[in-house]
């Protein structure tokens, strides 16, 4: 365990160095959030949705932007190159389990980049004029549940990303596979359109699949869009999915590594 932790620390430090990029990213985040809020304000002007109020939706959109790095399916170029260009042979020489190595690498990148990026929004967005601002959580219990579900969401998203890296062994096309993965995670995770605004059938489907549990659920809990009892059920589902994906991930990796073909020369 110790070697994984020190590896985690190392990646954390590297990711924190890109401060200038973080500032550019911050402006981008504010732009995206405000643009989306403007669009939904226009929609709500005519009809109000019964599933989620505009105030709840605005909080949801801000939080989603704030934690976008954590919940988005952005892929690690180093790992992609490892598989496509053959550097994986070095990785295989190390006395570590490759699955957990990649898992903690993804986790560190997401946490370092993600929390740094969330701070400006969490500080500035609540101060914006009413109708545009990030509201306080719906209640103390909701806030605690939000933190709990966020914790599992991060672990779950890192596990989902690991499935992506493993699938590269089969497809050998990082760019194409990444775009398929991106489409599925973003759609079912409620980034294209918030899950709360989807038709009933699709909402149900979204909450069976792991993507929205990782990328949508915590923010709906925060906004008070899900009652406490269902929140608990969904958090249990997060844990179940986390176990399913991690265990199947390790098994597939170990099996596949026995017959891996090194690419490149």
């Amino acid at each position: 365990m110790k070697k994984y932790l020190s590896f985690f620390k190392l990646r954390l430090n590297i990711a924190l160095q890109y401060r200038a990029a973080a500032i550019g990213g911050m402006l981008t985040q504010f732009f995206w959030a405000i643009m989306q809020i403007l669009i939904y304000q226009a929609f709500y002007k005519v009809v109000t949705s019964e599933n989620i109020s505009l105030e709840q939706l605005i909080s949801y959109l801000w939080l989603k932007q704030a934690f976008y790095t954590i919940i988005s399916p952005s892929t690690d170029v180093e790992i992609r190159d490892m598989i496509e260009k053959g550097n994986i042979s070095y990785e295989l020489c190390k006395p570590t389990n490759i699955y957990w190595m990649w898992y903690f690498k993804t986790l560190a990148n997401k946490i370092a980049g993600g929390f740094l990026k969330s701070i400006p929004i969490l500080v500035i967005a609540p101060l914006l004029p009413a109708g545009l601002s990030l509201n306080a959580p719906a209640g103390i219990v909701e806030f605690i549940l939000f933190l709990v579900s966020m914790f599992f969401a991060i672990l779950l998203m890192a596990a989902i990303m690991n499935i992506f890296y493993i699938s590269l062994f089969y497809t050998m096309s990082a760019k194409g596979t990444a775009s398929i993965f991106y489409a599925l995670v973003e759609f079912f995770g409620g980034t294209f359109v918030p899950v709360a605004l989807m038709p009933k059938f699709w909402q149900g489907l979204c909450y069976i699949l792991p993507f929205s549990l990782a990328a949508d659920l915590p923010f709906r809990i925060y906004a008070g869009n899900i009652d406490l009892k269902s929140s608990l059920v969904y958090i249990v589902m997060q844990i179940i999915w986390l176990l399913i994906i991690t265990i199947s991930g390790t098994i597939i990796t170990n099996r596949r590594l026995k017959k891996v073909v090194i690419q490149g020369g």
Binding site: G25, M35, L38, I39, V46
Partner: protein, 258 residues
């Protein structure tokens, strides 16, 4: 121009060599667009309309914007990834060839995998137009073509700007994505739904309003002013400052790499 098409042809042949990777890329970009338009459909299921606009009208704008964005990504890929050219010093090679630097940089790369998205956008436009009541005449067809040209020109300008900034920053800026990716997203909806300050920015600075609002009003018969139809021509003015920035950038260029 002849050189441009010859280069593009070579790049297409190159990509078709890796068939499996190519097919997966096509499926990927097809899926993204499909799920994006489905999302827009979901929103209209929930709300029925946005401002005065219905689903098919917005779908038409979506199709037009994504069509021209895909065309830009396909034909202007070199500008999109210009930081790579700067970083490894390849721009030195470009400068010594007897062709315009902008033209060469543009055709450094060509991304054929966007073809799936392209056809899809055409399909979306056709489906949308069938479902909207338009009194077609020759002038309106011309307006439709002008709108698409205008839209492409705006993306062309943004891509040039994005590439030109690499002369100063060496690396690509995530910030510049606001104009390309953000503009694409903004222009999906007619700009009259946004707040005033936002509308002004996207009409006078990045002129999406000139292609996705005024001509659309005329095309859909929401306004009778015929001159709304020729407004997309003014997007060419947007190219002037963009090319100027590029020219200044080239002068400013100091070689990197080894």
């Amino acid at each position: 121009m002849k050189v441009y098409f010859k280069t593009i042809l070579m790049l297409i042949k190159m990509q078709l060599e890796y068939r499996k990777a190519f097919i997966i890329s096509v499926i990927g970009s097809f899926l993204i667009t499909f799920l994006l338009i489905t999302s827009v459909y979901f929103l209209f299921q929930e709300f029925e309309q946005i401002g005065e606009w219905t689903f098919y009208e917005v779908a038409f704008l979506f199709g037009m914007v994504y069509l021209n964005f895909s065309l830009s990504e396909m034909f202007l890929r070199g500008l999109d990834h210009f930081e790579n050219v700067i970083k490894n010093g390849e721009f030195d090679r470009i400068l010594i060839r007897p062709q315009s630097a902008l033209m060469q940089s543009t055709c450094m790369e060509f991304d054929l995998s966007k073809i799936g998205r392209l056809l899809q956008c055409v399909a979306i436009i056709v489906i949308a137009l069938v479902n909207i009541n338009i009194d077609w005449n020759l002038y309106k067809i011309l307006v439709f073509i002008l709108m698409n040209i205008g839209c492409f020109i705006i993306f062309f300008g943004i891509f040039i700007l994005k590439a030109a900034f690499c002369f100063w920053t060496i690396d690509g800026l995530e910030f510049m994505n606001i104009f390309a990716e953000g503009g694409k997203k903004v222009a999906q909806y007619p700009i009259d739904i946004y707040a005033k300050w936002f509308r002004i920015f996207f009409t006078f600075v990045i002129p999406f309003g000139l292609v996705n609002y005024y001509p659309v009003l005329f095309l859909f018969g929401k306004a009778d002013n015929w001159y709304y139809g020729i407004i997309p021509i003014f997007t060419f003015i947007f190219l002037i400052p963009c090319i100027l920035v590029w020219k200044i950038g080239v002068k400013h260029y100091e070689s990197t790499g080894s």
